[in-house]
Symmetry: C2
Subunit: 330 residues, 2 copies
């Protein structure tokens, strides 16, 4: 292995000077810089990150914790994080928050002893315990979820997005719109989305009809059941995840209802799943990759704390249309 001393010797300078050149600090002549750079090239010297990290007490590692590695939403965020980190010369260390809390404590420990530059948490709020486990020197930021504590985060305004999504359906002419909500335990995502829906429905003087799912595909069919049991004449279903939306499309068709001619379906998130049904799912999109990138840059300039709200936008595909003309208005 070629060390900084080898380079120094080869260039006829001291290790300190090589370090200065390599790190772009000041304190050397153009001429020595050239000699050093030549030696670096020649010997193909590479800085030892371990040694540097030990000395500087900081490495170019970013911790990335997702509920599950194989999760459509998390995947898109991860993709953005990875890209931005890569471009800035940072390495990404992966972990799961879905695991037992003993595991997540382990991750944070690892990240701390590797002297990570920061930690990104996907779809999970920053608890007091997490903050504590991480120590005072490592910044942390959450993505795709926003609590009210003002912790650093990158997320959309879930309530407003759900409101806008519902308004869209209303504007198409629907009045009997069912909400397939998320797990009520999800206080910072499912709840605001439900509030947004309720507000839009109330403003439009429409009767809300809701059922709860788990966000996952598997819960979609049962959720649809619940909705239809309350109002069999629903002309639109707003599912707060694409997975549930896809399940609703499939289940509706299985029951002989056409999408969107008989019933419109609107999803949420714009994950890859929205493209995997026919007709493709209209959806309230979160800029997930962009949010991943933003999390990295926000983390790295440690000022600019607090929550960052990203824009949401509606994508119309084939699963939404005006209601059938025959449909009776409740």
């Amino acid at each position: 292995m070629v060390t900084i001393r080898d380079v120094a010797q080869h260039a006829g300078v001291s290790p300190a000077t090589v370090s200065r050149v390599v790190n772009g600090l000041v304190g050397y002549s153009d001429e020595t810089r050239e000699r050093v750079e030549a030696a670096v090239q020649k010997l193909s010297y590479e800085t030892d990150y371990l040694a540097r990290g030990l000395k500087t007490r900081q490495t170019s590692v970013i911790g990335l914790l997702a509920p599950m590695v194989s999760d459509a939403l998390a995947s898109k965020v991860m993709q953005g994080v990875e890209e931005e980190a890569q471009e800035r010369g940072y390495a990404v260390m992966l972990g799961r928050t879905g695991a037992k809390s003993a595991f997540i404590a382990g991750y944070l420990r690892t990240l701390r002893t590797y002297r990570a530059a920061g930690v990104i948490l996907i779809s999970a709020v920053i608890t007091q315990e997490t903050r504590q486990l991480l120590g005072p020197n490592i910044p942390i930021i959450s993505v795709a979820i926003s609590d009210k504590s003002g912790s650093p985060s990158v997320a959309i305004d879930d309530e407003q997005a759900a409101y806008d999504a519902t308004r869209h359906l209303l504007r198409l002419g629907h009045r009997r719109i069912g909400l397939l909500a998320g797990d009520p335990a999800s206080v910072f995502v499912a709840k605001p989305r439900e509030r947004g829906y309720l507000r839009a429905m109330s403003e439009a003087k429409c009767t809300p009809v809701t059922a709860s799912g788990s966000f996952f595909y598997e819960s979609g069919a049962a959720g649809l059941d619940g909705l239809l049991a309350q109002d069999a004449g629903l002309t639109a279903i707003f599912a707060v995840s694409d997975e549930m939306g896809a399940a609703v499309v499939n289940e509706l068709q299985r029951r002989g209802r056409r999408v969107p001619e008989d019933v419109s379906v609107l999803g949420f998130d714009n994950t890859s799943t929205s493209l995997h049904v026919h007709p493709p799912l209209s959806t309230m999109a979160q800029p997930l990759e962009e949010m991943g990138r933003m999390a990295v840059s926000k983390l790295l300039r440690s000022r600019a704390l607090g929550p960052k709200i990203m824009p949401h936008h509606l994508i119309e595909r084939g699963s939404t249309a005006p209601p059938p003309i025959s449909s009776p208005q409740t």
Copy 2:
């Protein structure tokens, strides 16, 4: 920060002894062990991985390179890798191979300077250049792809799996079976699968009908077009990825053909996509998470080199059935 010296002092022993205890080596009495462990507890000492890695020239980091972070197949493998690594006390560092080769060189450099314990490559073969960039001390293994060079790998027997898949369709009674193949540039995945299909068809004295896609969903509809243009009476379509299979199901239904009553569709891989269509896709499954776990354990006991073949198995869901009785045999 609490160091090994602090613990030593607190326990009234030398740093060397603390190190021995912490690392479970020999050379200390039960009584000192207890004193040291108590001190570790009391001060909540944690080994500094950077310092240890610098000294031992090895860290508990595993590099994981995927074509894209957000890729259904890679996601499942990553999930398995992450779980196994976590359980063994290893950290996972993420990278993309889909990026330009300058980037991948950068990843390997990073992994090398962090003294990674090994590298796992998803859906990419180990090139000479990769091997070289990594240096002689870091083992590497590929997953979900197997070249003929005998490099370490964990994969299924793609040709046999495709053969078995085709046989399954034949056994159901189909004779007019179209293959929606993968990108022909994919020499170590798409090609073997095509060979397996051709062999089974030839043995059964059936006429092969093939078209090529890209593995991605987007290429499914056009692929189906290509197939139907050659034989509009196909009763089964074997797509060599679930994404293409899902697209075929959706496109078939859009054209008014029922699945599986009119046409059976069989996918490949058993990724989450296979569940997102209706009827759910029957598929030739790869044990992707298991393969990820296996890659980690194989990597870590550096003996046991060479390729490891994992079992494939067919999962019947709703998209396959016997051909319609009226269907004329070619």
